[in-house]
Symmetry: C2
Subunit: 243 residues, 2 copies
């Protein structure tokens, strides 16, 4: 805890330092995923669980949208919902994620039912939705800043998965291509907002903690996957069991 | 999913069957805890994380209390808060849990700060608090029914821990003794309520799913502990690190 406020540039550096330590590209499960160390059932489990995150992102963004005070801010934030939900059936990020689960041979109805979800995934994603409803708008916007770090992980992931898995194609990874432009656009806005509005020590600490919280959401989703699907015998009752 | 409603006795049997499959006494971390397979740092991690569950139980019960329609129901439910918060300083379940973390050599300020908590613990416990605020009163009451199964696990735990760990004493396990009478009293009430009010197939399925949800809360807390503290190298950034 610092005693005098950081400059906007120092705040950005502190946010980036959190990403360098806590972003989920450093998680052993992600490294295994990219390096081709997982079998198809484990990749299925990842896609199935990550589906819930994708599916709840519009609820997260709508929860925040409902709290934003100006049309300008709401227009900016609305774009995120459009990106995920699309303009017509079978467009948008969620639909593209389902092409990945389809391509991995998962039944779409089963994926959408959430029946096989790990409880840890459920609780982590729901915590994110609740966070943006309960915390300040500044903290809610700051919690989206993991997108600062996502272009790198996406590039690594797409290249690594195409190289290492014969059951993965460019078509099944279609989700990620638009994210390479959407995420920087979104995080540019959120970072500028946070640098402008987090002026006091308290606000800056809240912003840093919001990013730590969000890193914890993503990290704990991988903890749950790594625990359940890498060591035999750990799949919790009721969760997806690879064929 | 059944097509005609269960009798109250059949509903109770179905609830007990969920406990037999999903209650956390079956989790590998719990078995290791009771069997003396953990070191002191691992037992510390368990007590530190479980503290957050204890600390939030009054918030969970107050959230439900605020929704109960009659003084009779509220009096019944209020007792749970009294049990956990006590009547004077240093009484009640939370204070007794802190005697356990004290006895394990953990700094009380650090425990109460929640700084070293696993994100998975945080999200699971918060999911429980949100559940009782968002679901029907019937589902909220049903989610407490894991207490049907707790006397068995408590007896096993106290006997096993006293036998197996020289750093555990009867005084540090003081939390558990009153629970042996409180939990059956509470679960008798909740079970009778659920058997009386869950009459339709939809209500009964909702009740069964509420108990599955709650088993998932407890189970995923142990998943997070087992992942982070049993296999070396898995403690997430920022979480408690045993000395």
């Amino acid at each position: 805890m610092s005693v005098s406020p950081l400059s906007p540039a120092e705040l950005e550096a502190a946010l980036r330092a959190i990403g360098a330590e806590r972003y989920h590209n450093r998680h052993p499960f992600h490294r295994a995923l990219h390096d081709g160390k997982l079998n198809k059932g484990q990749v299925q489990a990842w896609a199935l669980n990550r589906y819930y995150y994708q599916a709840r992102i519009p609820a997260k963004d709508a929860t925040l949208l409902a709290r934003l005070p100006t049309a300008e801010l709401r227009r900016e934030w609305r774009r995120r919902i459009e990106d995920h939900d699309g303009d017509t059936p079978d467009t948008g990020g969620i639909a593209r994620w389902l092409r990945l689960t389809d391509g991995l041979g998962l039944n779409r109805e089963y994926v959408e039912s959430l029946e096989g979800l790990l409880p840890g995934t459920h609780f982590a994603v729901d915590a994110y939705v609740h966070f943006v409803g309960e915390k300040t708008i500044l903290e809610a916007i700051a919690s989206s800043l993991t997108e600062l770090f996502s272009p790198t992980i996406i590039s690594e992931r797409v290249a690594g998965m195409l190289r290492n898995y014969d059951f993965i194609t460019e078509e099944t990874l279609a989700y990620f291509t638009p994210r390479l432009t959407q995420a920087p656009r979104d995080s540019d806005f959120a970072l500028a907002y946070v640098k402008e509005h987090a002026r006091t020590v308290e606000q800056q600490n809240a912003v840093l903690n919001a990013l730590k919280f969000k890193c914890g959401v993503l990290w704990s989703m991988l903890d749950a996957l790594d625990y359940a699907y890498v060591t035999p015998g750990n799949i919790p009752p009721g969760a997806f069991r690879p064929a």
